[in-house]
């Protein structure tokens, strides 16, 4: 009786795969067909083991994942008008809405959900010659998914001027950007200092200059107060007051025992 044969393979779709769509027979072929740009750039999606049994049957098991390929595949399918980028100045992923022609923020967790869904879809669409355990469990683990989005931060990183007015890329300039900036403002610019008073007017002026620096639209003072007030209360347990006394001026609005640092957050 012939022995069972085990062979390690790096499978990619056959020669004419760009022109003639053949049915993929292994997980690596399936992903390389779906994300041909990433396959060209980063190579085979999986290291696969082909097991040929005594009776001539084949079984293919994906045994190791090419993290670079999958991080690159998160960039999206250009044939669908998709694009995902990592914008380092804000440490933020953005995806492109092709119908609206605008970039919107997304999160690493959402990208991880997408990656897991694609693995599951691959497992469901391939036939029984594929061992699906790793596709379903191991590769979809939180650990693997997190490693993927971490790698994607470097692979999908764009230049700091990606959204500058001279470039064609536009992003949504909604409240979420201001909110993110407000969190950064509270986290990195404010600190507790007994006896100090942070006046609302000073805080608002500092926040506006921060927005200007990041090329974000200015917001109204009332919006700033509504956004930052709860963040300060949560972080420092102080509320906005209307009865503070500063330099003999009565009824000043601000926060007690808070100090505004002059260092601009990176």
């Amino acid at each position: 009786m012939e022995p069972e044969v085990h062979r390690l393979e790096l499978n990619l779709p056959k020669q004419h795969w760009l022109h003639e769509r053949t049915q993929p027979t292994t997980p690596a072929e399936w992903f390389a067909q779906k994300f041909s740009d990433a396959a060209r750039r980063f190579g085979c999606p999986f290291l696969e083991m082909r097991q040929t049994t005594h009776d001539g049957f084949n079984k293919v098991t994906p045994i190791a994942i090419n993290t670079d390929f999958f991080a690159g595949s998160l960039a999206g399918d250009s044939k669908l008008g998709h694009s995902v980028i990592y914008y380092e100045p804000e440490m933020q992923f953005y995806y492109f809405e092709p119908m609206q022609q605008i970039y919107k923020p997304t999160t690493p967790e959402k990208l991880q959900n997408y990656y897991r869904a694609m693995l599951l879809r691959c497992a469901q669409e391939l036939n029984h010659d594929t061992d699906k355990l790793n596709l379903f469990a191991e590769f979809r683990s939180d650990k693997n998914a997190r490693a993927l989005t971490n790698r994607a931060k470097s692979i999908l990183a764009v230049s700091p001027d990606f959204f500058s007015p001279t470039r064609p890329h536009q992003r949504i300039r909604g409240v979420e950007l201001h909110e993110r900036m407000a969190r950064k403002f509270v986290d990195e610019l404010l600190s507790v200092e007994s006896g100090q008073v942070l006046m609302l007017a000073d805080a608002y002026a500092a926040f506006c200059s921060l927005l200007k620096q990041r090329e974000l639209e200015p917001i109204k003072r009332s919006d700033f107060k509504a956004m930052v007030g709860p963040l300060i209360r949560d972080q420092f347990n102080v509320a906005l007051r209307n009865d503070l006394v500063v330099d003999e001026r009565q009824g000043v609005r601000g926060w007690k025992n808070l100090r505004l640092s002059q260092t601009v957050p990176s």
Binding site: K79, L80, P98, L111
Partner: protein
């Protein structure tokens, strides 16, 4: 694909574009934040323009 009847040819193109659009939406939904209003399905013209722009199909 019907090559002779322009009306049927257009219907084929719309059907193909719609199939691509459903695939696109399935993927994008993972990245979107659930909003107060769902995404409006595109008109036939929008679908054809979108499909032509990215897939290059005429």
């Amino acid at each position: 694909m019907n090559e002779t009847n322009p009306y049927l040819k257009r219907l084929d193109k719309i059907e193909e574009a719609r199939k691509q659009w459903r695939e696109s939406e399935w993927r994008l939904d993972f990245l979107r934040t659930i909003g107060p209003t769902p995404t409006t399905p595109p008109t036939d013209e929008q679908l054809l323009t979108w499909n032509q722009k990215y897939t290059g199909s005429n």
